[in-house]
């Protein structure tokens, strides 16, 4: 009888060890997968682009860009586009800035 109880006790220990081991293993896998999720870069596109340095020559004047990506360009007809080409030449995509031209009215504004 004592021998039978001893065997039952050992079986219970083994079952407990197996269950405990599986629990620990599950916990380790869970923690690894969760830490993988948390380490991911949230990403997102920055809304601040390369700062444009002010530039001036005889044909046009480009202001330095401000914190909101505003730029002012002073130039006559034809030279406005040349000022934009200057920005592109400096690897600045004009699409990323809010560009205002001084002393200028868009002739197509009248058509709506």
């Amino acid at each position: 009888m004592d021998e039978q109880q001893s065997i039952n006790s050992k079986i219970r220990k083994i079952i407990l060890i197996v269950i405990g081991s599986l629990f620990v293993l599950s916990l380790i896998v869970f923690l690894i997968t969760e830490s993988g999720k948390n380490n991911k870069d949230v990403g997102g596109e920055p809304d601040v682009y390369d700062k444009v340095q002010g530039y001036q020559n005889t044909d046009f004047d480009i202001s330095e860009s401000d914190a909101d990506n505003n730029i002012t360009i002073s130039a006559g007809p034809g030279y406005r586009n040349i000022a934009l080409y200057y920005l592109k030449g400096k690897a600045k995509d004009p699409t990323n800035y809010k560009i205002t031209f001084t002393d200028y009215t868009n002739p197509f504004e009248a058509y709506e």
Partner: protein, 205 residues
Amino acid sequence: MNKNKLIALIFLAVVIIGGGGIWYYFSSIHKVSISLADGSSVNLFQIVDGNYKKVKTLSKSTAISLGKGNYCARPVDDKYSDKPECVIVDNKDAVLNISPDYSTDYLSTLLETEFVNIHAIIIAKYSPLIDNYSLAKGQLFKKGDWYGTTLSEVTGPSRLGDNYRIILKKINGIWTVAAKPQLVFSRYDYKDIPIEILSAVNTMI
């Protein structure tokens, strides 16, 4: 160590290793729902060590089981851009929506039948001012439903003119001005127009 203890230890090791293996296998397989635009077929690749390893060809929307990894789909037909659409299969089910744009060559072919109609619409909308401008042939984008071109001011030899840009979108088969002529388009002013189109039109000469 007696025989019973040895058997118990081996049993324990088998259970732990086997259980871990089964756990790892099922935790690494996930369902990926792939939505494919009508009429297009794609080759699905797994990226392994920087190399494309083909998984299968898909010709309709489906859901497949994939192991953890990076997967990309590329259109089979030359009509579509070969830009890949990718998904990372990690710890959960994923979705991959594939709606490829047309290829540059196919867009150029489409433009031949579209640009006369588009130019007629621009001329009608901005007449008579448009008489002072020269319209370039322009370019179609995406699925041929976006168009951009330049309007160059025609001036005498003593004066430079301004170059304007315009973007149109085809809605229900009708071309409509999406961005009226401007010297330059800012992403802040045209949030409904894809940035890559704004940027491409801004770089047109």
